[in-house]
């Protein structure tokens, strides 16, 4: 059962071959077996999940209309608020936080009759590329438990790759969906900025954050995005435009496809095996009738530096709300007001979050703002203009999602800058607000997955899914599964 896709599980329920409660029980059993190894979840409420599944079965028996994800377990990154369920963002500062409301994406999942199977581990406040910055546990890569699953949505990626859930939600601020999807060998998608409401998402960098799906197949990812996308007046950056029926068109190939290949994505630092797998995937597209077009993104080498100014700047501002006053950790030491703020934050935040708050505060401080923050925003525009120009000549841009396959736990933990370089191919998409998708395109000799990154113009999600599906239909890597109990 846990080998099946969400699409298959929906069909099996429609034909009355299985019940929702059997599906949820099968995935809960996988969680019980595999969590000692994977540690992808922070919170699983078995009884509540089974209750939800039973309610779906009861609706079906009563002949009531069912939602698009009826009876499908969905794991959710612990940065999305679920009413009454502990939501930590991977941080000690929110260790006992129980949100008083649901995030918009959670409301959408419940309206679609999905089953919330658990909250997944993540880098604290989504800051990191390995999930090692979680205050709670270290999630393992299902393909090799000595390796990291990627981050920051490492728990959501490992849960799907490890057969603990057919679908999951993550968030992507600089690659936090696409990078772990690549390193765990699954599909991960970051929608256009504004496509999914951020209401109830604990903010990291508000002009970059976006919620998106993880799945083992392109069609499943399309199904999950279709369920959570759409306008929400509670997020003023949420875009009011119709959500296409992605699942209806996903199997239609794009005729006359032009693939932009930027030389900047194939330079120094790219692992040989990763580069070769991506080139092989591009050849597959040529066999399918696509044309490869040389495009240039001349400012992309500067994107990472701009990102590591803009994202910490926004984070230092967003995280000012964690002051120990209304919710979250408050120091037990006696202090005046300012001392209570500082001590609560010093005790509650982990090392990477402190680093980013410090960088963000510095680049926004008097005398440095123009040299750092404003400069980075100017570079951001240049990065976006590169994409605008490139998309005049192609329908999609392709390259590697990550410079290397998954690295061992601990390998980069004492070198923040080395960790940041894991995001070198993914951050420009966030700076420009584009939709991006990572698709499995092979394995290294050591059996670690490799991801192909596809980037499209704003709101071209429908094409992105169709283009990804073209490759998947001739090179389906999802049949290969990690060896787990």
């Amino acid at each position: 059962m846990i080998e099946k896709t969400a699409t298959e599980l929906l069909a099996l329920q429609d034909s009355k071959s299985i019940r929702a409660v059997e599906i949820t029980e099968a995935f809960l059993a996988a969680i019980r077996r595999r969590e000692p190894t994977l540690q992808a979840f922070l919170h699983v409420d078995e009884a509540a999940a089974i209750e939800q599944a039973k309610a779906v079965d009861a609706k079906r028996e009563a002949g009531q209309p069912l939602g698009a994800l009826a009876g499908i377990p969905v794991a959710v990154k612990d940065v999305l608020c679920v009413k009454g369920v502990r939501t930590t963002a991977g941080s000690r500062i929110l260790e006992n936080f129980h949100p008083p409301y649901h995030a918009h994406a959670i409301e959408r999942l419940l309206a679609a009759d999905a089953v919330l199977i658990g909250k997944t581990n993540m880098d604290e406040f989504a800051m990191g590329s390995s999930t090692e910055n979680s205050a709670y546990r270290k999630t393992r890569n299902p393909w090799n438990p000595d390796c990291i699953p990627g981050g920051s949505s490492g728990g959501s990626a490992a849960a799907v790759a490890g057969g603990e859930a057919p679908l999951s939600l993550g968030t992507d601020t600089g690659g936090s969906i696409r990078q772990p999807a690549a390193l765990c060998g699954i599909v991960g998608m970051k929608p256009t900025y504004g496509r999914v409401s951020r209401y109830g998402l604990i903010a990291f960098a508000s002009s970059l954050d976006q919620i998106g799906p993880f799945a083992r197949t392109v069609e499943d990812a399309a199904r999950l995005l279709e369920a959570v996308a759409g306008h929400d007046p509670r997020d003023s950056t949420s875009v009011n435009r119709p959500v296409p029926a992605y699942t209806r068109s996903v199997n239609q190939p794009v005729r006359g496809l032009r693939i932009g290949v930027p030389k900047e994505f194939f330079g120094d630092g790219l692992d040989v095996e990763v580069g070769a797998a991506v080139q092989t995937a591009l050849k597959e597209y040529e066999k399918l009738g696509a044309t490869l077009v040389d495009v240039s993104l001349p400012h992309s080498p500067y994107a990472l530096a701009a990102y590591y100014i803009v994202a910490p700047a926004e984070a230092s501002s967003n995280l000012a709300r964690f002051d120990g006053m209304h919710y979250g950790h408050r120091t037990k030491r006696k202090a005046d007001l300012i001392g209570t703020y500082s001590q609560s934050r010093g005790e509650g935040f982990g090392p990477e979050v402190k680093r980013r708050i410090m960088i963000g505060t510095y680049v926004l401080s008097s005398g440095y703002k123009d040299a750092y923050y404003v400069k980075a925003l100017q570079v951001r525009r240049l990065v976006k203009q590169d994409f605008d120009r490139a998309f005049e000549r192609c329908d999609v841009i392709m390259g590697p999602t990550t410079p290397t396959a998954a690295f061992p736990l601990g390998a980069k933990q004492d070198d923040p800058l080395a960790m940041y370089l894991s995001d070198v191919y993914t951050v420009s998409c966030n700076l420009a607000g584009l939709p991006g998708l990572s698709l499995p395109c092979g394995f290294t000799a050591n059996g670690l997955p490799i991801g192909l990154q596809l980037l499209a113009a704003p709101f071209e999600e429908e094409n992105l899914f169709r283009i990804a599906r073209m490759y998947e239909s001739v090179a389906d890597w999802s049949a290969r599964r990690p060896a787990l109990a």
Partner: protein, 97 residues
């Protein structure tokens, strides 16, 4: 760009972040390395380029000003570190001297 120990302390004070001496010692070279990396932007000419704060054009999203139910008091206070009656208990904001 590199930061000395006093500058690190000043930034921590601005950020309302208590840091132990060991944290300060570790952060100083790490922050300096990150700032040295992002300093590469200075080499890129950007005169006349309009800063881009937001990737997608957004303007003010207005809504009608209509009353709607708000969070009940007990739910709003449920996560309070220190609840005093129907209020959040906090340290004194103004001192007496």
């Amino acid at each position: 760009m590199s930061l000395d120990a006093e500058e690190v302390k000043k930034v921590a004070r601005l950020a309302r972040l208590e840091l132990a001496e060991a944290d300060l010692a570790r952060l100083q070279p790490q922050l300096s390395a990150i700032l040295a990396y992002v300093d590469q932007l200075q080499a890129l000419p950007t005169a006349g380029v309009e800063p881009l704060a937001h990737p997608i054009p957004v303007s003010n999203a207005f809504r009608d000003d209509v009353p709607a139910p708000s969070l009940p008091v007990d739910e709003a206070l449920a996560n309070a570190p220190n609840r005093i009656g129907n209020h959040f208990g906090v340290p004194a904001v103004f001192s007496h001297d």
